[in-house]
Amino acid sequence: MKYASLKKANLNDWLGHLKKKAKLYAPRKKENLFVFRQVKEVEDVCLEYIPTVLPPKKYYFPQKEKLFKFSSQPFKTAKAIDKFEEFILFGVHTCDIAGIQCLDVVFRDAPEDPNYLNRKDKMTIIGIECLKYCDKYANCTSMGNHVPRGGYDLMMVDLGEKFIIHINSEKGEKLVTGLDYIKEATEAEMSLLERAREAKKKIFKEEFIGPLPKVYDTFDKSFASAVWKDVGRRCVACGNCTAVCPTCYCFDTQDDLELSLDKGVRYRIWNSCQMDDFAKVAGGEDFRKGRDNRQKHRYYRKFKYPVDKFNRYFCTGCGRCTRTCMADISLIETVNSLLSEEGLQ
């Protein structure tokens, strides 16, 4: 079976089924925003959502993650996590799936990161394709992430009465077989899917004023651009943009001691290149001074450096950095300013 179909009326039955299989995380409403949470009541799951405050990154690259346990007297180290649990990410947008693919590339690159890979091994991804824009902040079309491009186990498309589910892996297939309410998609349903995709082409238009290769070329030439001064002048260095980014993975390590002071745990915690001490060494030298340079670094880590290193853009187009910015720094605007500046020269 390659495509399956599920009546919307049976969605909760399926969620109940999935919940029994493994820990299930899905988007739900929180005040006027959305968050990924472990599913306790299947009714809480909300599939019509704009990108969650934090990407599902928090489940496979936790904000505070145990690296190992230690004791200093006597000197001993021990595994902090004995067993990693199976979990299902449900209702993941294609932009966030692109984010997972980016982190896969990073943490599989030698030397491998066993902490990430252990979690990733236990992960099942059930995506949902967007048929309309979440809001004006997303740039998923320019990044090519508005359509599914692999990296998931199952992908759902909302066709009104039903979901069509693309089965992309064996792991995913197991979650849809043997259930009387999930059937193989009919030809009529498949043509509905095609029509939905066609309609989508009229809605999703490239958000950048130039194609992606041109964006890359522009970054190659824009290291000294005045755009960075402007972005830096507005930035308040809160680090929100990096915290909500599905492809930001910079971290710090931190030792937490028990009250006895001789035992504890070493953690890794998210860190942000926007913090002013991020590149500062003990001797006092700061190797990335200024909010303009730090913002520039963030952008280059999306549009230039990873392209050189991994042949992949690390912006997924989810729009979170713009949505969360207190200073109204917009990614689309910044990139377009660089593009138009480049065009004028």
């Binding site: 971290f251 030792d255 860190n271 500062k280 001797g283």
Partner: protein, 288 residues
């Protein structure tokens, strides 16, 4: 298992887990620097290349990258020289003989010793830069016939800050190595050169195409020394520098050490000037 296999296996399977190590010698060598001799568990050799660094752990205080200052030819132990400059290094300074610390590594790319075989070597050290360079100098001394003429230029702020005093005296005496030292500010007992390290370079006699220039020091010093070495017509790929950056993982992931797209902990800390030249503006050590 062979020692190297143990270390590589550890790096592959548990890259964040430090190995147990014991301090077998510890002594203050200047007002601010302390010297440590360290033995890994089961006395396995670190097997580093001069210029590589280790991550030192003190549980409860964290971890910091420290250059190894002994040569891989010093077997059974390795050595570190650490300036007290923050919470972690202050705590490290309180450690004494017999105390246990954690070690990960060695990390990074060291000095290109294999490419330097047969070449003359001109070593320029500024301040603490002598620490990683001591590893290279000792290596050269232990393999003296693999290298041509060797000159060492050492500069520091004042005679009180001079590191490895006994050893430098010995280097001065050795005829097969030329050693020159200068201080920015002299004290009454100082009989040597006074002035910036760059003043020593024009007087040095070298065959530039046959010479490797190796520079380690603070960013402000690199810029001027590299200019002088370029003036001496040493080819860009034979000018070698080792950079200092903030580091947390040593695995090219945590992001702190990044210069533009390059992770210093994996691609460095040793670079040739040819590499540095390609940076667009984030490399403070690049000659102006």
């Amino acid at each position: 298992m062979l020692e190297r296999e143990i270390l590589l296996e550890k790096m592959r399977t548990t890259p964040y887990l430090p190995m147990k190590a014991t301090i077998t010698e510890a002594q203050m060598v200047t007002d601010k620097e302390k010297f440590f001799r360290i033995q890994l568990e089961n006395k396995i050799n670190l097997g580093h290349i001069p210029g590589q660094f280790v991550m030192v752990s003190i549980f409860g205080f964290g971890e910091a990258p420290i250059s190894v200052c002994s040569s891989p030819s010093d077997k059974g132990y390795f050595e570190l020289t650490v300036r007290s400059a923050g919470v972690f290094t202050d705590r490290l300074h309180k450690m004494a003989k017999g105390d246990e610390i954690g070690i990960r590594g060695p990390f990074g790319k060291g000095f290109p010793i294999d490419n330097m075989f047969g070449y003359d070597v001109m070593i320029v050290a500024g301040g603490l830069g002598i620490v990683p360079l001591r590893s290279l100098i000792r290596y050269i001394m232990h393999n003296r016939n693999d290298f041509g003429n060797v000159q060492i230029l050492l500069g520091c702020r004042s005679p009180r800050e001079l590191l490895f005093e006994e050893e430098t005296k010995e280097w001065m005496k050795r005829s097969e190595i030329k050693f020159n030292c200068t201080v920015d500010r002299a004290d009454p007992e100082w009989k040597g050169n006074v002035g910036l390290i760059t003043t020593l370079i024009p007087g040095v006699d070298i065959n530039p195409t046959r010479t490797y220039g190796v520079v380690v020091g603070p960013p402000i010093m690199y810029k001027f020394v590299i200019v002088k070495l370029l003036e001496k017509k040493i080819p860009e790929h034979q000018i070698v520098v080792s950079l200092e950056r903030r580091m947390r993982c040593g695995l090219g992931k945590c992001g702190h050490c990044q210069i533009e797209g390059v992770y210093v902990c994996q691609s460095g800390p040793v670079f040739t000037y040819n590499d540095l030249k390609k940076f667009k503006g984030e490399c403070h050590e690049k000659a102006v």
